[in-house]
C-alpha cells in the first residue's frame, strides 16, 4: 500500500493534522496574530476538508485493522466536518474578539482529529485514543471563557466526570480483553460468548458511551457544561461530539456485540424511555436558553436511541439521517443564541420576549429550529423523528414508541414556550435590532435550507440508507 493510499484513507486526519501543525508554526513564528486571517484560513480549511471527503470512496483498513474506512464512516466524518464548519462560521464573530483565537482553533482541530479516529476505529485501543482525544481538549474548550466562573465550573465538572467515565470504560475494556484476548472489533465479536462476565463488561463499555451521548442517568454534567461553556463550544458539544459518539456507539454495538443484541436492546429501550422523559421534565422548567437546549438535546438523544435499538439497516440510516437533521436544527438554534449572546450577553428565555418585533430573521430561524427539534412539519425534524419511530415500529418496539409519542407532546410544550416568548409576548425593552455578520448569516441560510429541504428530498435518506448496515 502506497503512502498515497494511506493519505487517501486518512485524508481527514492528515488534513486536520496539517492544519494543526500549520497553526502551531504560525503561533511560533508570528509576533502579532491577525485573527481575521486565521479565521478566514480555518474557514477555508474546513471547506477544503469537506470537499476532500467527496473525492473517491476509499474502503479498507490500515494499521492492522486499527483504522477502518468505508462509505458510512466517510459520511459520518463529513457530517462531523460539516457541523464543525457551521459552528466555526457561527463562532467567527465571537472569536474575532478573543485574544486566544488560535488556541481555540488548535483545540478544536485536536478534538476533530480525535473524532475522526473515533469513528474510524476498528480496535478498542484506537477507539480509546480517539475518545480521549475528543474529550480532553473539549474540556479545555469548555473552560475557554477564562473570565467567567461558570465556564470554569462547567469545565471542571466535565473533566472530572469524563475521567471517571473513561476509567469505567477502560475497566470494561480490560475485562473484554481478558475474556476475548483481543482488542480488535472483529476478533472480539468472534470470541464473544455472552458469558456473565462478558455481559458485565458490556455494561461498563456501554456506560462510557452513555456518558458521551448524555443518556440519563449519565447526563448530569451535560446541562452544567452547556450552560457554562461559550456558545460555540456548547453547540459543538451538543452536535458534533454527540453525533460522533453516536456513530461509533452504533458501530460498536452492531459490529462488536451482535451476540448480546437482546441484552443491549432491552437496556437501550429502558434508557431511551428514561432519557426522553427526564430530559423533557427538566427542559420544561429551564429559563436559560442554553441549559434549555442542553436538556432538549438530552431528549433528542432519547429519541435517537429508539433508532439504535431498532437494529436494522433502515434504523441505522434513520439515526444518521436524524443526526444530520438534528445538526441543522440545533446549530440553527445555537447560532441564534450565539448571535444574541455575543452582542449583549442575554441568554435567558425571558430576554427573547418580543424578539420578532426587532429581529424577525432571528426569530424565524429560532422558530424553525425548535419546530424541527419538536418534529413539526414541514421541517425536516418531522421526517427524522418519524423515521426513527417507524424504524422502532418495524422492530416492534411499540411500548417505547408510545412513550416517545407522549414525550413529544411535552417537548412541544416547551418548544412552543420559546416560540411564544419571541412571537407573542410583549416586552418593554426587547433586544434591539442586531446586524448579523455575514458568516453567521451564511450559517442561518444553510440551516434554513437544510431544515426545509432535507426532509422533502428523499435522495438524502436514500443515500444514507445505501451506506448503512444493521443487524
Amino acid at each position: 500500500m502506497s503512502l498515497l493510499n494511506y493519505i487517501s484513507m486518512m485524508r481527514f486526519e492528515v488534513f486536520a493534522l496539517g492544519i494543526i501543525v500549520l497553526l502551531l508554526l504560525v503561533k511560533i513564528f508570528s509576533e502579532k496574530l491577525n485573527t481575521s486571517f486565521i479565521l478566514g484560513f480555518i474557514n477555508v480549511a474546513l471547506v477544503g476538508l469537506l470537499v476532500a471527503g467527496f473525492i473517491g470512496h476509499p474502503h479498507g483498513n490500515i494499521f492492522g485493522r486499527m483504522f477502518l474506512n468505508d462509505g458510512t464512516i466517510m459520511l459520518e466524518k463529513q457530517i462531523i466536518t460539516f457541523a464543525t464548519l457551521l459552528i466555526f462560521l457561527q463562532a467567527n464573530f465571537w472569536l474575532k474578539k478573543q485574544e486566544n483565537c488560535l488556541e481555540f482553533c488548535l483545540l478544536l482541530f485536536s478534538v476533530l482529529i480525535g473524532m475522526y479516529f473515533l469513528v474510524s476505529s476498528g480496535n478498542f485501543l484506537m477507539f480509546y485514543l480517539g475518545l480521549e482525544m475528543a474529550t480532553i481538549p473539549l474540556a479545555a474548550l469548555a473552560a475557554f471563557d477564562f473570565g467567567r466562573m461558570r465556564s470554569a465550573e462547567g469545565a471542571g465538572k466535565m473533566i472530572l466526570s469524563s475521567a471517571f467515565s473513561s476509567a469505567i470504560l477502560l475497566f470494561g475494556l480490560s475485562l473484554i480483553y481478558g475474556t476475548t484476548g483481543s482488542l480488535d472489533f472483529n476478533e472480539v465479536r468472534d470470541a464473544y460468548s455472552s458469558s456473565a462476565l462478558q455481559l458485565f463488561t458490556l455494561a461498563f463499555v456501554f456506560v462510557g458511551f452513555a456518558f458521551k451521548i448524555s443518556i440519563v442517568p449519565f447526563h448530569l454534567w451535560t446541562a452544567d457544561v452547556y450552560e457554562g461553556s461559550p456558545v460555540a463550544v456548547t453547540s459543538f458539544l451538543s452536535v458534533v461530539s454527540k453525533g460522533a459518539s453516536l456513530f461509533i456507539f452504533m458501530t460498536v454495538l452492531y459490529r462488536v456485540f451482535p451476540m448480546a443484541q437482546e441484552t443491549w436492546v432491552h437496556i437501550l429501550v429502558l434508557l431511551s424511555a428514561i432519557t426522553m422523559t427526564i430530559g423533557n421534565l427538566f427542559a420544561m422548567r429551564q429559563t436559560n436558553i442554553k441549559r434549555f437546549l442542553a436538556f432538549s438535546s438530552i431528549t433528542q438523544a432519547g429519541y435517537i436511541l429508539i433508532g439504535v435499538a431498532a437494529t436494522s439497516s433502515l434504523s441505522m440510516a434513520s439515526v444518521i439521517y436524524f443526526i444530520l437533521i438534528y445538526t441543522f436544527s440545533n446549530i440553527c438554534a445555537f447560532t441564534v443564541v450565539s448571535i444574541i449572546s455575543d452582542r449583549n450577553g442575554k441568554e435567558d428565555i425571558d430576554d427573547y420576549k418580543g424578539l420578532y418585533k426587532t429581529n424577525p430573521l432571528l426569530s424565524i430561524a429560532m422558530m424553525l429550529a425548535v419546530f424541527s427539534l419538536a418534529g413539526i412539519p414541514p421541517t425536516a425534524g418531522f421526517f427524522g423523528k418519524l423515521f426513527l419511530l417507524t424504524s422502532g415500529a418495524s422492530s416492534g418496539l411499540i411500548a417505547l414508541i408510545i412513550i416517545a409519542s407522549l414525550n413529544m407532546i411535552v417537548s412541544l410544550y416547551y418548544y412552543l414556550k420559546i416560540v411564544k416568548a419571541m412571537f407573542v409576548d410583549k416586552n418593554e425593552s426587547p433586544i434591539e435590532k442586531i446586524s448579523i455578520d455575514i458568516s453567521a448569516k451564511t450559517v442561518l441560510i444553510i440551516c434554513f435550507v437544510g431544515i426545509l429541504a432535507v426532509g422533502f428530498i428523499s435522495f438524502v435518506f436514500e443515500y444514507i440508507h445505501s451506506l448503512s448496515f444493521g443487524l
Partner: protein, 104 residues
C-alpha cells in the same frame, strides 16, 4: 518458582478500582478526586498487564494499551489540573461542593 495465580493479581486490581471509585465518590477535594481516578486507571493497567501476561502472552496488546493509558492519564491530569486551578481562581476553593452555581 511458582507463579502467583492471576486471581491474586485481579483481586488487587479490582480492589484498587473500587477503592478509587469510593475515593472519587467520597472526597471533596478536586485534586484528591483526580488522584482517585488515577487509582482506577492504574487498576485497569494492572488488569491489562495481567491478562496479557497470564492469558495471551503471544501478543502485546495489553501492555501497549497500558502505555497509552498512562500517557493519556497524564494528559488528562494536566488539563484537569489546569481547569482546577482556574476554578480555584474563581471560587477560591477546590472543594467540589463549593463549585455548584450551575444546577437545576
Amino acid at each position: 518458582m511458582s507463579e502467583i495465580p492471576m486471581t491474586y493479581v485481579l483481586f488487587v486490581s479490582f480492589a484498587l478500582f473500587f477503592i478509587g471509585a469510593y475515593g472519587f465518590l467520597t472526597r471533596r477535594n478536586m485534586i484528591t478526586m483526580l488522584m482517585a481516578v488515577e487509582l482506577m486507571l492504574n487498576a485497569v493497567n494492572i488488569n491489562f498487564v495481567a491478562f496479557n501476561k497470564y492469558l495471551f502472552p503471544e501478543k502485546g496488546d495489553g501492555v501497549f494499551f497500558t502505555i497509552f493509558i498512562i500517557t493519556i492519564a497524564a494528559a488528562e491530569a494536566a488539563v484537569a489540573i489546569a481547569i482546577i486551578i482556574n476554578i480555584y481562581r474563581k471560587f477560591k476553593s477546590i472543594d467540589s461542593e463549593d463549585a455548584d452555581t450551575l444546577k437545576w
